[in-house]
């Protein structure tokens, strides 16, 4: 049963795909253990948001759709941004303690790399799992709010889901690399309060970034989340501006690629100790 199959030659794409497939039963088992909680929160979060932001807060807001980037209602305006923000938060949460614990406390990574699977493949496998989970969570969100007439076209949420998944991947990679480089988990609190929360508030999910003034708008537009929010919203409302969408996609893809390198090197450094 001892295998020396060539598909596990490290570095090759086949090798990596094989390794990711071999890690899948582990992540499936982890997911199976927590699926009830995940499903409940996946359905409840959007309902809470719609109720609080869309119905209760949105009831006070009546503006010209042109000032809401083309959204007919405040709810339709915030939904795509909320889902992108939700993708960020889910990705960051899934790559903070769960990653830290895997090399620091329960040492699951140690047991993985004692097998033919390499450190790089472990990082990529874990990120693939997080991205799939974020995508499912966002899909549920998109689905739950669908009856509230928030989409500009039927394919809007489908295309927006791609933007949301990409946003999740981007934040998952960067948080993953960060988790690999810290010594104590106290650093997570700082990141959540000083990075994740402000990004969520000021990256255009809740109000058009034009409201921030010329300078504020420029600042908001260089945050990675804004690109996710904006792309998600344009697709969701079927109001796509080609050049802007291209910029959004390019930024998300490039930052995700850089994040992947940051994540993989982070775990490699950590595991080489």
């Amino acid at each position: 049963m001892a295998t020396t199959d060539p598909s596990l030659q490290t570095g090759s794409l086949t090798g990596t795909l094989t390794a990711v497939r071999r890690l899948a039963p582990y992540f499936a088992t982890v997911a199976a253990r927590t699926w009830k909680g995940s499903v409940v929160s996946a359905f409840l979060s959007p309902i809470f948001y719609v109720l609080a932001m869309g119905v209760l807060l949105g009831g006070f807001i009546e503006v010209d759709p042109d000032r809401l980037e083309g959204a007919g209602t405040y709810l339709a305006f915030i939904v795509p941004g909320l889902v992108a923000g939700h993708a960020m938060q889910t990705a960051v949460a899934d790559t903070s303690w769960p990653v830290f614990s895997n090399f620091k406390w329960n040492r699951v990574y140690d047991s993985m790399v004692a097998t033919p699977i390499t450190v790089r493949q472990v990082a990529l496998g874990h990120l693939a799992y997080v991205t799939v989970r974020v995508t499912l969570v966002c899909a549920v969100f998109d689905l739950v709010v669908a009856p509230f007439d928030v989409y500009g076209a039927w394919w809007g949420p489908v295309a927006a889901l791609g933007a949301q998944a990409l946003t999740g991947l981007l934040f998952a990679t960067w948080m993953y690399g960060f988790s690999c480089r810290i010594e104590t988990d106290a650093a997570f609190g700082v990141v959540f309060r000083l990075v994740v929360f402000p990004l969520f508030l000021f990256s255009g999910a809740f109000f058009p970034v034009a409201n921030l003034g010329a300078v504020g708008e420029r600042i908001a537009q260089v945050t990675p989340l804004w690109h996710g929010v904006n792309l998600s919203r344009m697709l969701s409302l079927d109001r796509v501006d080609g050049p802007t969408a291209l910029v959004n996609v390019t930024v998300l893809v490039l930052l995700s690629a850089a994040g992947l390198v940051w994540a993989v090197t982070g775990l490699e450094r950590r595991m080489a100790r």
Partner: protein, 317 residues
Amino acid sequence: MVRARGLRKSFGTEGKGEGVFEAVRGIDLEVRRGEAFGFLGPNGAGKSSTMRMVAAVSPVTAGELRILGLDPATDGAAIRARLGVCPQEDTLDTELDVRDNLVVYARYFGIGRAAARARADELLELVSLADKARAKVDDLSGGMKRRLTIARSLVNRPDLLLLDEPTTGLDPQARHVLWDQLFRLKQQGVTLVITTHYMDEAEQLCDRLVVMDKGVVAAEGSPAELIRQHSSREVAELRFGHAGGDGPDPHELHAEQVADLADRVEVLPDRLLVYTADGDAVVEAVHARGLRPVATLVRRSTLEDVFLRLTGRTLVD
């Protein structure tokens, strides 16, 4: 199975203000097929660092290392596919049950689902945990966790099994159960590499071993050879009471008085070790000189004595 020449491992990088720590400072060794090979040494001797290099998870800093004839720098995955690793600290997944720990681990090696399940059941039987298959890992005793870790390391039918401090933290009974199982694996032809800081474990399990201290190999041989080369046949342990108050250490004092009776005398904080071919004769002679130790014990030399001789320190302090 394993061949090392001038093997080194350092941690930290120069010029980063961290300082460089040399855990392994140039060791040579050769592990042969079918034998049980041991690394004996105190904590911090470099055993675990060596083990991690042999497990092809920790890059070699310098020197040459071949595992199963392969170079870990280029063929790490292929090497690890044929190794079983039982790490010092249990890395079991506490969130999975006992059987799933084995099944999921088997899948890492590319073993299919049905085969992985069959193998898990077979291994649970082997380590007498079949009735715990659905138990939570956290509900297992320390000895059971160790046995599960060993079962997990066998999932891919390894050619070479690496055991890092396999019985540390276990009670005597659990240790004997484990030794028995390791002995049976060896009978089946599995090559074992074991690190330990217990001399009794090294004597029980190892055909051949190296004594490690401060990152270097201090001696190499079978337990019997090492004892023959570096110690006397017997040891008389003499314990003297304090004269009272803060007087000089009685053991230092008496060491000079018995020095001529023995090949060698070692002073420990609580006793004198007198190395000789005939321990009973030494004890008699000590009494004949009017010395009155509060306790005496005559025993055979052990690897502990070898270590003391080679390094001037005890293994477990």
